[in-house]
Chain length 353, copies 2
DNA sequence: TTTAGTTTGTGAAACGTTTCAATTATGATA
DNA sequence: TATCATAATTGAAACGTTTCACAAACTAAA
């Protein structure tokens, strides 16, 4: 592979001149520039980015640390981050921690020894447990946290308005006439969980409805288990709001196992949307997060920091809105229609009570 | 950030000695070794991998080029590749080409200038169009192609037995008594398409059933469009085998739009499985590919090449088997039950005919 | 005490760039 | 033609490692 020396020799100039041509500095005569460019072309020369990084002490590489690309929540976000990074000439490497501390340690060590310029992290950890993120931060490596916001760290974040998102779902259900609306949340250590729960509580309080809360851990299995309990309640809740799609999917399994159906026997709304689900039943009513944008904006924010586009100031917190996508999983169910008939002026009336 | 010089100074040895300690060479006295290790520990020294790469001319980095991580087919494969790479101390960076030639060019240029040691590629291109892969190969960078096998390139590959996979699905349908079984294939330029089509034809010929072929392009939209045509056929086929899950999903939309249902009105089997779909209806009968393994084995094969574990020989082709996962989308449908009643000894008889 | 052999440790070059001070070439002006 | 200003070019150091030939310090045998 040709080096800058080969180019210099062929063009009969010094390597400094070649470097200047590559960098586009103007103090090179047109004639020399042409000669150098011809040599570059002829040799198929590509500057060695490794050497460049060593000298400049900047790798133009950013690392993205997530828990598992296999979780359908992540691919869009990774894609967004990559698009932004590539557009600005940065290399993005993604790492799956699998939530294993040992592996996470290995990954951060690798990131450090490779002198990655900045980090995009979706932390899976609980409050107060960010040894690696904190270490990176204190050693001067910029970090942007996506999706989840560690309150104990002074770090830039890009998140969504989780509370407002759940409120959209609950309001929608209330509007459709549902009154006993249960909520299946995730473990409170996970940052987004308390916010989503708060959204549920706020919307329910506003509608003067009683809280029916269950707690899972954001994984499919917990949705299935909570599902059995929820379906066994008497009276059975008319609707469920799940805090993420994995739990919603688990819940659906419990529903099928009980010989029931969504939305006939119970309505379901959930956080997260997944493209592949279009065409499958039930078509879920969901709170769609701008995951692509989170990745895209996060990467841009990070690169701005790296290039000091913004003068150093306190941490920036971007909060993006969610959007409600109405499917048929929240169509008025049997119980509801019965109630509508019983009360005089129809569904609307039951809302006021 | 501490360098090897700092460590050497603190331990009062030469940098060569520190390097020897790091490399674990035995020509260092225990006393010195301890002194150096203490210094490393005290300074939190981490060798600069960039400098190391420059000197050794090896980056221990591999690039993975796919079309779009957002396609649910890829995450497992990427995960497998990352697991293998990390276990052997390699960095994996994944790139989405989006099937855009311009972007692909940019990506390969980046990979080259960063001196990535080897490449894992799932080529989206058609026969004879692999300028970048061919260039990498001829410049001595090992490449392993996953999932699709470019016949025109002497390159290692890890693929699945596509024909056998489709046969599994068709055989299953035949066994269940279906007789008019349509096939929705993908564009023939895509390598896997002809193999899958061949599997369909072989299985149908074996069962002495007539071919009913449609062609899409592996994208959702084409499944939807082909769906309308398939459903309009008279008599309507009893079953459809889709060549990938995106087209199957598109087909399902067409089914819903026509006011029909799977499997009541038509059975459906497809290539690919996607975890999130568990719990949703219909629960598809599918040909599951070992995508994780493809990534895992591919990365290991590539690293073996990089480290010359295997003496250089001709290209290696790993072919992994697929597995049939039976869901309820291929349960005998209405027409079928009717036919079973008509013929004397039940469904089994109709198979013999 | 030499001599030879074995451990242990080190100096310096090299990897391929960037960068800056210094040098040389080129014109313009006196 | 000599002088000066400006433009163009270059030499060399530096980035942080690895590696190899060599040097120094021991040890064991003669």
């Amino acid at each position: 592979m040709a080096t800058i020396k080969d180019v210099a020799a062929l063009a009969r100039v010094s390597i400094a001149t070649v470097s200047n041509v590559m960098a586009g500095v103007p103090r090179v005569s047109p004639a020399t520039r042409r000669r150098v460019e011809a040599a570059i072309e002829q040799l198929g020369y590509r500057p060695n980015h490794v050497a460049r990084s060593l000298k400049s002490r900047r790798t133009r590489a950013i690392g993205m640390v997530i828990s598992d690309i296999t979780n359908p929540f992540f691919p869009e976000m990774v894609r967004g981050a990559e698009d932004a990074a590539l557009a600005r000439g940065y290399l993005l490497s993604t790492f799956n921690t699998g939530d294993l501390p040992e592996r996470e340690k290995q990954i951060f060590a690798m990131l450090e020894s490779r002198r990655t310029d900045g980090l995009l992290v979706v932390t899976a950890l609980k409050r107060g447990e960010h040894p690696h993120v904190a270490a990176a931060l204190s050693s001067g490596v910029p970090v942007v946290c996506l999706d989840r916001r560690p309150q104990d760290l002074a770090v830039d974040t890009v998140t969504v308005d989780n509370a407002a998102g759940v409120e959209l779902a609950v309001d929608h259900l209330v509007e459709r006439g549902f009154r006993s609306i249960a909520y299946l949340g995730g473990g409170l250590g996970m940052y987004v969980a308390p916010e989503r729960l708060a959204g549920y509580r706020r919307a329910m309080r506003r509608a003067r409805l009683p809280l029916i809360e269950f707690r899972g851990d954001f994984r499919r299995e917990s949705g299935y288990q909570a599902g059995s309990k929820i379906l066994a309640l008497r009276p059975r809740p008319e609707a469920l709001v799940a805090a993420n799609i994995l739990m919603a999917a688990g819940f659906l399994e419990a529903v099928a196992e009980a010989g029931l159906e969504v939305p006939r026997d119970i309505a379901l709304a959930t956080f997260d949307n997944v493209a592949i689900l279009r065409g499958f039943r039930p078509h879920l009513t969901c709170v769609e997060q701008p995951t692509y944008r989170m990745g895209y904006d996060g990467a841009n924010l990070l690169i701005d920091r790296l290039e000091q586009v913004t003068p150093h100031s306190g941490p920036v917190h971007l909060v993006l809105p969610c959007k409600l996508v109405v499917g048929d999983s929240t169509q008025p169910c049997r119980v509801l229609r019965g109630r509508a008939l019983a009360s005089a002026p129809g569904v609307a009336a039951s809302l006021e009570s």
